[in-house]
Symmetry: C2
Subunit: 223 residues, 2 copies
């Protein structure tokens, strides 16, 4: 069976877990906190980043969340999430990259640094200015998501795809860390509310990162 090395609020691990959930792939979880720099983990993945997906019986170790998602979508036929015409697949991948790089870099990464790493690792107080800037950028990015959903059923177009899973992964971690103000984002809120009730998402929303509590609305479908 597959074993996923991850921690509860790693957005890239969440993207992989949502994909495995949608596709019905069984897996177990292994907690891995990248800042502990475990030798055995660095040996598996020289970048030291989560997620890493391992299948011991088949002697397979997969690193990099997008390489993992492409692998799972290529090898498991159920619920294809990088599917459709070549142009549609390019749009899916453009948006996955947008969430994984732009949204992550502007919003999720600074929130994780200020509200998780500083609490768990360096024991410093979060920088209020950095948090404000992350929330300001989140607001602009939610405007873009509103715009997408105004023109499409799902993030990349007519069908649900990996772009939706990548969006939900980043957004859910930012929301866990109190970085999302939903006011004025009715379209994205409706899309996210629907997403929260999916069986692939419920288990993730019930998990907690030790010593860091999410806001009350975090796991509620009506929020």
């Amino acid at each position: 069976m597959w074993r996923l090395h991850q921690f509860p609020i790693c957005p890239f691990s969440r993207k992989v877990r949502l994909l495995m959930g949608e596709k019905g792939i069984a897996y177990s979880l292994q907690s891995e906190f990248p800042w502990e720099l475990r030798d055995e983990f660095l040996y598996m993945n020289p970048t030291g980043r989560t997620p890493v997906l391992v299948h011991e019986e088949k002697n397979i170790t997969l690193c990099d969340s997008m390489a993992i998602c492409e692998y799972l979508d290529e090898t498991v036929d159920s619920a294809k999430m990088i599917n459709g015409s070549a142009e549609y697949r390019a749009e899916i991948r453009r948006l996955v990259s947008w969430f994984d790089e732009q949204f992550y870099g502007d919003v999720t990464a600074p929130l994780l640094h200020e509200r998780m790493r500083k609490r768990l690792v360096s024991r410093e107080s979060p920088n209020a200015g950095v948090l404000r800037e992350a929330m300001r950028l989140a607001n602009g990015h939610l405007d873009y998501m509103d715009y997408l959903i105004d023109h499409r059923n799902w993030m990349a177009g007519a069908k649900m795809s990996l772009a939706d899973l990548a969006a939900a992964a980043q957004l859910s971690v930012a929301d866990y860390l109190g970085g999302i103000d939903w006011t004025g984002h009715a379209q994205t809120k409706a899309w996210y509310s629907m997403f929260k009730s999916r069986p692939s998402f419920r288990p993730l929303l019930s998990e907690r990162m030790k010593a860091i509590a999410p806001p009350a609305h975090y796991d509620q479908v009506d929020f």
Copy 2:
């Protein structure tokens, strides 16, 4: 015909150009300097990043270098560069991501910031400490590349792949900006020397970024 929006030392545009060169895809170039924040360019790609690949006759606009490469490899059969078993494809994508994120973030990005943007945009002097740190990290990353080439014919394994193109793209920009000390990296140097003589790479090596000169060895196959 395809038109690629790029600038001469954008490593992600170089990856796409190397792929188009290997596959024999015709294209024209359009200079785009992302720091000018042109409205027309931001309209094409909300991230404001190069490269963007446009086919006006077919009304196609592709953004994000990996989405572009996946599209080209899916739609053009010659010289497949994300090919082989699912596991081999995962290894190719893991390494592309390693070069695009890790090598870029640690080495190419700080070099571009200190030696290009500060010169062309903010007119500041480069920060010697930042440059030293980028070169120190480059040395460690070249050790990893040496290790890969010690065990394989090409970066990802037995066959040339997009991982080699991504590696050459990042390395060539870092080398242009004087950030690579080749001493002690015989394996990577031999691989790169062979790569430099490929027809897909020659045109790139002959181009210059205005006001920024590369070191004398930059475009030489023997260096």
